[in-house]
Symmetry: C3
Subunit: 109 residues, 3 copies
């Protein structure tokens, strides 16, 4: 048994929760800040059997890895603030830091 | 020295806190969600000397284990919504997931 | 790689965050309560290479260790509640509990 401690962006948190449940992993979530990720983030604690570690990390990677995303931005046209045209810009979102910690004993009751 | 990480139901959190203090264990509490327990829960981190691990787990078990509890429910009588009679139903409450993690170094200052 | 889990007083939290960033350590912060420290506190999780553990603990110690601090108190004069004179009293602030936990695998993506 290992304890996976994963820090992910808030925007990926719900999707990761659902994906973990679908794969029969049980995660406890804690609100966190700072670290790798500038904004608010979520810390997942997941108790995992040794032989399922790679599968669990794969689920995290599939749902949280850094990727570029187009977001709509707005900027003044021609240096004046009279007219604005929305346009897409590419920003980097996602990312996760994953620690696998040994567990000497696990009990649940 | 070990670090016990225990996820328990919110409703057992205060009782467990008091029981740990009475037994001279020092716990740090973090608000958490999800995992074994559907609703909001509390994650306890407890630094414990090796020879006291079983005692600490015993305190958690005594205060958090799954048990049936009678709660008052209310339901319409005779299929209509005109008259309600409160009656007791048995629900399962409590439960804890306990991870014992090795600590290579502990300092406090 | 190790995971440092440090519980510090809220009043030292911002200063410690800044000091860790200045020393190139990346910390994730979680709001916590209880434990060594009576009031609200902050739990830092810091992933650290083995050879930098002592440096990281040094940063925590420098910013969080227990020290006496003069605070302004106010108390009635002469046993009546008519006149109050502010005066300094010495209180103990700070303190940290630091756990170093082994990490079997670390990934970030
Ligand atoms: Ni079970
Ligand atoms: Ni002491
Ligand atoms: Ni990197």
């Amino acid at each position: 048994m290992k304890l996976i401690i994963a820090v992910v962006q808030d925007k990926d948190s719900n999707r990761l929760s659902n994906a973990l449940i679908k794969s029969n992993f049980r995660a406890t979530k804690l609100a966190s800040t700072g670290g790798f990720l500038k904004a608010g983030n979520t810390t997942f604690m997941i108790g995992v059997e040794d032989e399922k570690i790679d599968e669990a990390i794969g689920v995290i990677k599939a749902n949280c890895k850094v990727r570029d995303q187009l977001v709509s931005s707005v900027s003044p046209v021609g240096g004046t603030t009279d007219s604005y045209i929305p346009f897409p810009i590419e920003v980097q979102v996602g990312g996760a830091a994953v620690f696998v910690v040994p567990v000497e004993k696990f009990e649940h009751f």
